[in-house]
């Protein structure tokens, strides 16, 4: 394990701190969004602060839940379904 590897290993123990940092950054971004907005909104709604935050979160959650919980159970087969492995 080289220096970088050891560094990454140490970061695993600091997981909680990293998570707090992420929440902090997200909060700062939303705060900034109150003051900085688009000159020409593309969709209308994106003129409101927080639109893109909500968009990322909602689209992300819906995509994962629908694809993993609804779609995949219907279309998944065993790995050798076509008998070509």
């Amino acid at each position: 394990m080289n220096g970088l590897g050891a560094f990454l290993e140490r970061q695993r123990e600091l997981r909680g701190a990293w998570l707090k940092a992420l929440y902090g950054v997200l909060a700062v971004l939303v705060l900034l969004n109150l003051f900085v907005g688009p000159h020409e909104p593309h969709f209308g709604l994106d003129a409101y602060p927080g639109f893109w935050a909500l968009f990322g979160l909602v689209v992300g959650v819906l995509m994962v839940v629908i694809m993993k919980r609804v779609v995949q159970p219907v279309i998944v087969r065993r790995e050798d379904h076509y008998g070509d492995i």
């Binding site: 990454l8 997200l26 900085v36 990322g56 087969r77």
Partner: protein, 593 residues
């Protein structure tokens, strides 16, 4: 006086493919990057204009059309070939290098082709070269996938051929010029369909996630760069502003990320993301304003660099750990730290994170689409951006390098050769350079715009960070849901596999039936009669013919043996022979014509 300069970048690669089988010694692998370096030199020194015309069968073929559009694609092809050849230098199997060289030369040939005949020849050369990059992985799975890949691309090539022949009949020219949007000639649709097969336009895309995860470690790196982007190039040249492409591209962008979300094999996740990313380009071409066309070209450039790097990173995982399936990996960050870092550069690039090159290309297409009032297109591309970050930006590296598992100290990892790191580093540096200084890329964009796009504005940066940050939060909340599992997700290839199996049955069943009956009839009737005749002829044979026949029998046996050796049932040999005979016939026709 202006000097005209043009070295066709394909020449070096063709020469490499020709001499590689005959080189002795250990050092031949140092020759591999040579044609790539020559290609870079050629691209940066060539002058715009028409070069290399060839008269063939009464037709004038144009092998070197150099303009801004062909130059920018040739440039990124050349840069990518340097990184790809570096990455592949340790591979001992010369067949893989020959296939890669032929394939890359086909890519250059297509980009500089000024007429459809030249385009078609190099198009097929790419198809053959890339088929071998899959076959030469030498597992049953890969050989079958390579066979399907070849059939599919042959069918696509035939659509293109039919289109260009009908077009020649109608217009009397092979010239490869833009098609006016909205005109609805059959030949235009056929050519478009042929191009769309290679661009992996949904629902013609299933060959891609079928074949690319099964190619060789280094072969897939080449394939992810050239086939789809050559198709993007010909679409940009021939079909700019065709509205159907805007819709098709948006569907591709979303469809690809949805499948990537549920896939387990790292290289298949990336394959579905090619469909998605090429969707951005196809959509940009379909919208057809100068800005979206530039966006498509810029995105193709950036995409080749980061997608090559992504396939290199997952290739390292496959090479070192022996698998690219995420449910089998995890806890490798501390053991493959540099692979992780280099992979992350590409992952953040594809996600459009500021500082990396996806940020300066992706946003250009989206902004262009929105400014052209294609709101649905822009919305679809934003949705795809969320999915991209979730699956390639976080899911793949998380489950490969961490996955909530402790550091995996038990797994035996094959040491990764220096040249693989070198190839990756070249691309990683370029991804960051272009992201930080967009003009490095923008300077080469082919279309004139009134107001140049400025990616580095406070709002663009903030918007990207908001979108990506909160998609990341969505991943974190659902990391237990998105955990990948083994399994095959059905895709539209179910249809063509059914056609294939059906056709096989349609041919085999009647033949088997006939064969059965014939054997039966032969056994009861034919055999007895034959025995009688045989007894009679034995006498005659022993006395008279033996002497004469023995000589010719030996000859026949010799020829039969040769035939048996060539018909050994391996597809690669058949393909090779077929290509060889085709070339002989080609040469003969050329000579006699």
């Amino acid at each position: 006086m202006e000097t005209s300069s043009f070295i066709h970048p394909a020449i070096g690669f063709l020469a490499l493919a020709a001499v590689l089988p005959f080189l002795r010694g250990k050092w031949w692998n140092w020759l591999l990057p040579a044609p790539a370096v020559l290609a870079v030199f050629a691209v940066f020194t060539m002058t715009p204009g028409d070069h290399l015309t060839l008269n063939w069968l009464g037709q004038t073929l144009l092998l070197g059309r150099v303009d801004k559009l062909s130059l920018v694609f040739a440039q990124v092809f050349a840069v990518m070939s340097v990184a790809g050849m570096l990455y592949a230098m340790h591979v001992k199997d010369r067949g893989q290098h020959i296939a890669a060289a032929l394939y890359v030369s086909g890519g250059f040939g297509c980009v500089f082709a000024g007429d459809y005949l030249t385009l078609f020849v190099f198009w097929e050369l790419m198809s053959i070269g890339s088929t071998f990059l899959v076959l030469l992985n030498r597992t049953r799975e890969s050989v079958l996938a390579g066979f399907r890949y070849f059939l599919y691309h042959t069918a696509g090539g035939l659509l293109l051929l039919a289109g260009l022949l009908i077009r020649y009949k109608a217009l009397g020219t092979w010239e490869f010029t833009p098609m006016a949007p909205g005109s609805a000639h059959l030949y235009e649709w056929l050519i478009l369909a042929g191009f769309c097969v290679n661009a992996a336009v949904v629902p013609l895309h299933a060959w891609l996630p079928d074949a690319y995860p099964r190619g060789t470690v280094t072969g897939s790196v080449f394939m992810c760069a050239y086939t789809t982007k050559t198709a993007v190039y010909v679409l940009a040249r021939g079909f700019a502003g065709w509205e159907i492409l805007a819709a098709a591209g948006t569907v591709m962008a979303v469809y690809g990320v949805l499948y990537a979300c549920i896939e387990n094999n790292a290289r298949r996740i990336l394959s579905y993301h090619i469909v998605s990313q090429v969707g951005y380009m196809v959509a940009g071409i379909g919208v057809g304003t100068a800005m979206t066309l530039n966006g498509a070209v810029a995105h193709a450039y950036a995409h080749i660099l980061y997608k090559g790097l992504l396939f290199m990173g997952t290739g390292c995982l496959l090479y070192a750990a022996g698998t690219a399936k995420l449910d089998k990996l995890g806890g490798l960050a501390a053991r493959l730290p540099w692979v992780m870092v280099l992979y992350m550069v590409a992952a953040l690039s594809i996600s459009g994170m500021p500082v990396f090159n996806g940020f300066i290309s992706k946003t250009m297409t989206i902004t262009g689409a929105a400014e052209a009032h294609q709101t649905l297109v822009a919305l679809g591309l934003e949705i795809a951006a969320v999915g991209t970050f979730i699956s390639v930006g976080i899911k793949l590296p998380y489950f490969a390098f961490w996955g909530g598992k402790p550091t995996d100290n038990d797994r035996v990892l094959a040491p990764i050769p220096w040249n693989m790191y070198a190839g990756m580093s070249v691309l990683a540096v370029l991804c960051i350079l272009q992201g930080v200084a967009p003009s490095i890329l923008y300077a080469y964009l082919p279309f004139e715009v009134e107001h140049p796009y400025v990616p580095w504005s406070v709002w663009h940066v903030l918007q990207s960070l908001l979108l990506l940050g909160f998609s990341g939060l969505a991943f974190y909340l659902l990391r237990k849901v998105i955990t990948p599992h083994e399994g095959l997700n059905l895709d539209v290839d179910i249809a063509y596999r059914a056609v294939g199996t059906g056709a096989l049955r349609f041919v085999c069943r009647p033949l088997a039936f006939l064969d059965d009956r014939w054997t039966e009839a032969y056994r009861t009737g034919g055999l007895r009669g034959l025995m009688g005749i045989a007894l009679g002829s034995v006498w005659f044979d022993r006395r008279a013919i033996d002497g004469v026949v023995d000589g010719s029998a030996r000859t026949v046996r010799g020829i039969g043996g040769l035939g048996a050796r060539t018909q050994n049932g391996s597809l690669q040999d058949y393909l090779g022979l077929a290509a060889f005979f085709a070339l002989c016939v080609f040469g003969l026709v050329w000579y006699l014509g």
